[in-house]
């Protein structure tokens, strides 16, 4: 049993955690079950819904498809790591202001996917926004308000709106 476990270091939201995990555990399971970070959601658990999206080295990826052992040494950002000193990230504020949230299940994945997009392309077209979030399933609001929120956040971030 003990030889099955591997010791890995995960840098999550700027904090380094040393964990003993078995190789079959996904990053999503370790984030939720070991670290108590339940922002990343387990939806379909097979890469279709993207509710489990986290940033790994700045890239939006499905945490349900990555083995935790593979995330060893990588820089991981979850939705819990987005606010600073109790202040929401402009993307989070825009989602609230624009009413881009209903049940909230898809929201962490949407926000992090949008963050990866805006980090790579601070001034995306509507088409680029729609393409970026095309894998993030939302079953309540529809996507119009989400797209509006991402546009608003892009404007705020460009004019130096903190964070």
């Amino acid at each position: 049993m003990q030889q099955r476990q591997r010791i890995i270091e995960l840098n999550v939201n700027g904090e380094t955690h040393t964990l003993a995990v078995e190789p079959q555990r996904t990053l999503l399971e370790v984030l939720r079950d070991n670290l108590g970070l339940t922002g990343a959601k387990r939806g379909c658990d097979q890469g279709y819904c993207n509710a489990c999206t986290v940033l790994v080295d700045g890239k939006a990826v499905n945490s349900c498809l990555i083995l935790a052992v593979r995330a060893q040494g990588k820089r991981i950002t979850t939705i819990e790591g987005l606010s600073h000193n109790g202040r929401m990230h402009p993307l989070q504020e825009a989602f609230v202001n624009r009413g881009a949230i209903q049940c909230g299940f898809c929201t962490p994945g949407m926000v992090l996917t949008a963050k990866a997009l805006l980090d790579a392309n601070p001034d995306p077209s509507e088409m680029q926004i729609r393409r970026a979030i095309s894998g993030n399933l939302c079953r309540c609001t529809g996507y119009v308000k989400v797209v509006e929120a991402i546009k608003e956040a892009a404007r705020v971030l460009k004019t130096g709106g903190a964070a």
Binding site: R4, G47, A60
Partner: protein
């Protein structure tokens, strides 16, 4: 449909070289699987469609994520080169655009950031989008094993649904795409119900090279309409050496529809697929021809 459960236990092996990976694959005698991006394999394991005793991860081996290009060697992709890396590569967009068209149509941005081109090939789904695109680019695949090294043409790589010609202990080590002749263009048309996160009902790839006003070379490949992605040489032969002609495009398209062997499934019926092969092959031929630099249409 089997719902996903937590992954079963397996041994996780991290070789430090491809040779070592091949040896581990051989030692585990068909009970181990190589994992690159994991975007196909992990869900299959969660659904218990496959139950490997060991996973051989290639991620501990340096230098496998390459996209390199030269006039002599053309484009070379490593076994860990992701779909996302190919999608955002300028050289791919500019010179191997048909591959870009295929890759950008796949899954989601998140999955493309993890999944690899090599994995899409080795997974050997009949609908694999990169396969028709790579076939019409004249791609060769380097396969290595502890005993030998060989290269096979992309169209000779597939043996059936989820089956390839890879032998025990053999690994796809490099994707070799020759330089594209100057007056060439390629088109991939993926027929889907949804614009993202969908598999092809039919996939059609065409690459044409012009000389003067005639077709110097043409390759046509189809996805999701046979047990494997296929080339249709009969349709290609109709066009070679000929000028631009709607009638020839129609005949070639009809030949492609005759040559494919589609099945009925949840995404479409065999009859519908055959119809769409004809429509889309003609469309792809027209578009590819007119995108060739110096074509009559291109000049207009």
């Amino acid at each position: 449909m089997q719902y996903p459960r937590r992954l079963p236990r397996f041994e996780y092996l991290e070789p430090k070289s491809l040779t070592e990976a091949c040896k581990l694959l051989l030692q585990n005698d068909g009970k181990a699987r190589v994992v690159a991006g994991g975007t196909d394999l992990i869900p299959k394991m969660k659904r218990r469609d496959v139950n490997p005793r060991a996973l051989i991860s290639l991620h501990g081996i340096p230098g496998l994520e390459t996209i390199s290009h030269s006039q002599v060697d053309g484009l070379r992709l490593g076994p860990l080169t992701t779909l996302g890396a190919v999608e955002s590569s300028t050289i791919v967009t500019e010179r191997f655009n048909v591959l870009y068209q295929a890759v950008q149509s796949m899954a989601s941005s998140q999955v493309r950031g993890l999944g690899t081109v090599a994995g899409n090939l080795c997974n050997a789904a009949p609908s694999a989008d990169t396969a028709p695109a790579l076939m019409v680019l004249g791609t060769r695949l380097k396969l290595i094993s502890p005993q030998r090294e060989r290269t096979v043409a992309a169209e000779s790589f597939f043996a059936g649904p989820s089956a390839t010609v890879l032998e025990p202990g053999e690994i796809l080590a490099e994707i070799q795409i020759p330089e594209v002749p100057r007056r060439s263009a390629g088109v991939y048309i993926k027929h889907t119900l949804r614009r993202a996160m969908d598999l092809a009902i039919v996939g059609v790839a065409v690459a044409i090279t012009l000389q003067d006003d005639t077709c110097h070379n043409v390759r046509i490949a189809l996805g999701a309409v046979a047990p494997t992605p296929i080339r249709v040489p009969g349709a290609e032969a109709i066009l070679k050496g000929k000028g631009r002609s709607g009638d020839l495009f129609r005949r070639a398209a009809k030949e492609a529809a005759t040559a494919c062997q589609p099945i009925d499934d949840v995404r479409g019926s065999a009859d519908y697929r055959r119809e769409m092969v004809e429509v889309l092959t003609r469309r792809a031929l027209e578009q590819a021809w007119d995108r060739c630099p110096g074509s009559t249409e291109g000049k207009r």
